[in-house]
Amino acid sequence: MKKKVLLVGGRSKSKSLALSLIKRGYQVTAINDIYDDCLKLAEIKKLSVIYGDGSKPFVLEDADAAAYDIVIALTSKDEDNLVVCELCKKRFHIKKTVALVSDPKKTEFFYKMGIDSVVCAISAVTSIIEQQAFVDEMANIVPIGEGRIQIAEVPITGSAPVVGKKIWEIDLPKEVIIGCILRSNTAMIPRGDTRILAGDVLVLISSSGQEIAAVKGLTGR
C-alpha cells in the first residue's frame, strides 16, 4: 500500500516537496489556507488539494487526517506548525509528525512537545553556507540525525601530513572515525594498520562541530 503524506501550508516548499514525494510513489495531499496557492498546487497531477486552515481540527477531520502515515507542517508560522503537529499526534494519532521551525531556539522545545522531527530552515542554511566556506578541504558534508552527526568526504593531497601514516598513528579528535577510504575505484573499510596514501578520499563520520578540527588535522590546512 502507498504511504500517505499530508502537507500543511507552505507555498513553494509544499509544491516542490509534493512533486518529489509523488515521484517516489507516495500518495500526497496538501492543505493550504491561501486560495491562490491552492490553485497553483492543484496544477500538480495526482496531488489532492484541500483549501482550509490546517491548524483547525475540523479541516483536518475533513481531510481524514487519521488515515495518513506522515504529516509535514510547512507554514511560515512556528505556532501554526506546532499546533498542526500536536493535533495530528494527539487527536488523529498520526505516527510521524514533521515540523518546520523558523526560530532555531525553538527546535528543542518542539521535540519536547512530542514532534518526531523538527527542521530548522535557518540552521540548515547556515550550516550549508559554513560548509561552502570550507569547500576547498571538503568535497561534501552530509548531516544526519538532525545534524548531530556529519559525514564528510575529505580528499588527501600529496602535501597532507597524514600521507604514509597508519590510521592508529593519526591523532584524531575523540568523536571522529574514518569510516571508509576511497582509493582509485575501490572503497575499503580501513583497519588501524591501513596506510593512507596521497589521492585517497577519506569518509569521516563525526559528531557535529568536530569535523572542521578533524579535517584541519588530516589535510594540514
Binding site: 491548524s55 505556532e79 525553538k106 522545545f109 512537545m113
Partner: protein, 161 residues
C-alpha cells in the same frame, strides 16, 4: 472583582496580549496591588492601560524566549495568555509550562476544539463562546420559562428584579 485580595501580595503576574481582556485584567490586578507585567507586540496597544496602571510593559513578541526571559518569566507565579490568536496562545502557554515551569498558566482559546492539545500539560483554558453560552442560558433560566423569550430586554429585567 477581587482577584488577589486573599493571596500573597508579592505574586508576580505576566499577561501576554494587551487587548481589551489583557488590558482590563492588567488594570484590575495592578489596582489590587499585584505585580503585573504585560507583553504585547505592538506598543500602541499599551494605550488601553489605565493611567493609574502601576505595572511594567514590554513591547515584543511573546513567543520569543528572549522576550520572556527579559520579562523574568522564571519568577512569575501566574501567566495569562490572551492574544487574539489561538495557536500563539497554545505555544506560549506550553513554553511557559514546559520550559520555564510557570506554576499556573491560563490561556484563552476561541476554538474549544483545540483543547485536547492543552489538557495533558496542566494548562487552564477559558473559552469565551462557552462562557457566553452558559451565561445566556442562565439568563434564560432565570426568567422561568422560555415563552418569555419574545419579551423585550427591558421587560425581562423588570421581572428578574
Amino acid at each position: 472583582m477581587k482577584l488577589v485580595s486573599s493571596k500573597n501580595l508579592s505574586e508576580y503576574f505576566i499577561i501576554v496580549g494587551c487587548g481589551r481582556l489583557g488590558a482590563n485584567l492588567a488594570n484590575t490586578l495592578s489596582e489590587e496591588g499585584g505585580n503585573v507585567l504585560i507583553i504585547d507586540k505592538n506598543k500602541e496597544a499599551f494605550r488601553k492601560l489605565s493611567p493609574s496602571f502601576g505595572g511594567l510593559s514590554v513591547a515584543g513578541d511573546g513567543t520569543d524566549f528572549d522576550v520572556l526571559q527579559e520579562a523574568q518569566i522564571d519568577k512569575a507565579n501566574v501567566l495569562v495568555v490572551v492574544t487574539n490568536n489561538d495557536n500563539v496562545n497554545v505555544m506560549i502557554a506550553q513554553i511557559a509550562r514546559e520550559i520555564f515551569k510557570v506554576n499556573r498558566v491560563i490561556a484563552r482559546l476561541y476554538d474549544p476544539e483545540r483543547e485536547c492539545v492543552y489538557r495533558e500539560f496542566g494548562i487552564d483554558t477559558i473559552c469565551p463562546a462557552i462562557l457566553s453560552a452558559k451565561e445566556i442560558d442562565k439568563m434564560l433560566l432565570r426568567t422561568g420559562s422560555t415563552e418569555k423569550l419574545d419579551k423585550t430586554a427591558c421587560e425581562l429585567k423588570e421581572e428578574t428584579k
